[in-house]
């Protein structure tokens, strides 16, 4: 039996190696999950701090709810599973409210809604953003996003490639491997205005499809936590009314990102 004892000892040692964390959502302390790779909404500064529209909105909402919030970064691919696993209590990461996601998580009301757009290399001969215009082209998008889903569903005559983060498709359109990329218009504008985006230009915005793009970006929380959802909704309404939203909005955009 001696080796059984060895086994249990090892198992115990391993269990303590995993960090213990409490995920209690008592309204006072909240953990917010975000991606940190999606400027201007959420990204890391050079010294490793989070910044962006999502982060400012999250802080404003937490202040409104009188909650103490901490941020946790998580790769986009695993952002919903980690919410379900209790790594954090809410996702504020420009996540579009879609029917597919609603099966797994609950959403608050939207906190912004901006249209998708297409960017192409500066010397591109492409003239339009419709599926017919882009037939035969290689279109890049971040995988598992509404933009990738939309491109796959509508641009069936094009080759659609899904990338782990936005950074990779930017690299591939700069090298000419892609003919076009599709993402949120504000994300593309931010990139095109930077030194990195010198390769490319904005071709135009695309009329969103509510069935795929949803009704805008919302805050995702675990299913059934209606109390937390109600608190967030009240807070969104409050910052819209008291001008906090507008001051954050004007820091990033020249138009009202909340949408119609």
């Amino acid at each position: 039996m001696r080796f059984l004892k060895h086994l249990t000892l090892t198992a115990a040692a391993l269990a303590t190696a995993a960090s213990l964390s409490s995920a209690q959502a008592d309204g006072m302390k909240l953990k917010i999950g975000t991606e940190g790779a999606y400027p201007p909404f959420n990204n890391m500064t050079a010294d490793g701090k989070l910044e962006g529209f999502d982060i400012d909105i999250a802080n404003a909402l937490c202040a409104e709810m009188k909650a103490e919030c901490t941020f946790v970064t998580q790769d986009w691919d695993g952002i919903i599973p980690a919410l379900q696993a209790g790594k954090y209590d809410a996702i504020i990461a420009s996540m579009s409210i879609t029917d597919e996601r609603k099966k797994k998580v609950d959403f608050t009301n939207k906190y912004y809604n901006t249209p998708p757009a297409v960017a192409v290399p500066k010397d591109s001969r492409l003239t339009g953003v419709s599926p017919a215009d882009l037939a035969g082209a290689a279109i890049g998008a971040q995988g598992s996003t509404t933009h990738a889903n939309f491109a796959e569903a509508r641009y069936t005559d094009s080759t659609v490639r899904g990338y782990p983060t936005a950074d990779e498709y930017k690299l591939d359109i700069a090298s000419g491997r892609l003919d076009a990329v599709m993402d949120d218009v504000t994300v593309l504008q931010e990139w095109l205005a930077s030194e990195d985006g010198a390769c490319c230009k904005l071709l135009g915005t695309v009329i969103p499809d509510p069935a795929i793009h949803g009704e805008g970006a919302g805050i995702a929380i675990r299913k059934g936590e209606t109390e937390l959802a109600a608190k967030f909704n009240a807070a969104i309404k409050a910052i819209r009314a008291n001008g906090v939203y507008k001051s954050i909005n004007d820091k990033y955009f020249t138009f009202d990102a909340y949408g119609g």
């Binding site: 039996m1 059984l4 691919d77 919903i80 599973p81 379900q84 597919e100 996601r101 099966k103 797994k104 890049g140 995988g143 598992s144 889903n149 490639r161 899904g162 990338y163 782990p164 690299l171 591939d172 700069a174 090298s175 000419g176 491997r177």
Partner: protein
């Protein structure tokens, strides 16, 4: 047992019986065995039960065809890489065996480089490296090839597996006794004839098992191409998971990969048995 003095002497010179073949039972071995088996079957059974209970026809009809497409991409990618790798491995193995020190060192460097670094790093190096050298590649007319991620994957995989296959081949050729070369020479065969008709057939039998392992390694290793946007079985799985957030998407992929690996292993075992039937002493 006799008590007479002669009998005592007889007993002393009798060799002791060997210890019993069945060793003493380790106390609790059986319990441990049942617990281990129960745990293993419990886990597998639980996962199978989960797959059955969460049987979702909508999910299967939605992603099933995608998995099938991904599977075809995976198999095509692996087969192409293995074949090109095999073709490239022959000169590399020859160079490794060459009496020329410089040629041997060059081949050794190639093999060491590709066996000593992760496949993922090699794929990234080819894929993003090619993107960086687009103007140069365009001027020699190779950009059309490297523009496509599938081609980049095959290129990196073939280079990688060529290094491994060259080592397999070299080891196998060296395992053939030197006397075989000498006998061939004595029969008046040229070196090429000797290699083709005497050495290679014997070497390939030795190489058979490692070749099978290499195919399995390539099949498992190919799962990384999803990261450079090739939608193989793993890529389709990740996509299905990121849309449905249903864990069974990964479990189905696990089942498919396991079935493929076990199939290859069984085919290979039969092939080996068949090809080495002349070496068996019994049956």
């Amino acid at each position: 047992m006799s008590t007479s003095p002669t009998a005592v002497v007889n007993e002393r010179i009798q060799p002791a019986l060997p210890p019993p073949l069945v060793a003493r039972r380790w106390s609790g071995t059986r319990t441990v065995g049942w617990i281990a088996l129960a745990a293993m079957l419990g886990l597998l059974g639980g996962l199978s039960l989960y797959l059955i209970l969460s049987w979702d026809l909508e999910l299967i009809t939605k992603y099933g065809p995608k998995y099938w497409q991904g599977l075809q991409i995976t198999l095509g990618l692996v087969a192409t890489s293995i074949v090109f790798g095999a073709a490239m491995s022959l000169p590399v193995a020859m160079a490794r065996l060459s009496p020329n020190r410089a040629v041997g060192a060059l081949a050794y460097g190639y093999v060491y480089l590709f066996r000593g670094t992760p496949l993922l790093a090699q794929v990234f190096l080819v894929y993003y490296g090619a993107g960086e050298f687009r103007p140069e590649l365009q001027s020699v007319g190779l950009w059309g090839f490297f523009r496509d991620p599938w081609n980049c994957a095959v290129f990196a995989f073939a280079l990688n597996t060529a290094a491994y296959q060259a080592e397999i081949l070299r080891g196998a050729i060296q395992s053939v006794a030197k006397g075989q070369w000498e006998a061939a020479e004595a029969l008046g065969l040229t070196r090429l004839q000797a290699f083709r008709k005497i050495i290679l057939p014997q070497a390939l039998i030795v190489a058979l098992r490692p070749y099978g392992n290499e195919i399995i390694l390539m099949l498992k290793g190919s799962a990384i191409v999803a990261i450079i946007t090739v939608l193989d079985l793993m890529g389709e799985t990740r996509r299905a998971y990121s849309r449905s957030f249903d864990f069974q998407t990964y479990l189905w992929a696990a089942v498919i990969y396991l079935l493929m690996v076990e199939t290859i292993r069984n085919i290979w075992e039969r092939l080996e048995k068949h090809l080495t039937r002349h070496l068996r002493r019994d049956g």
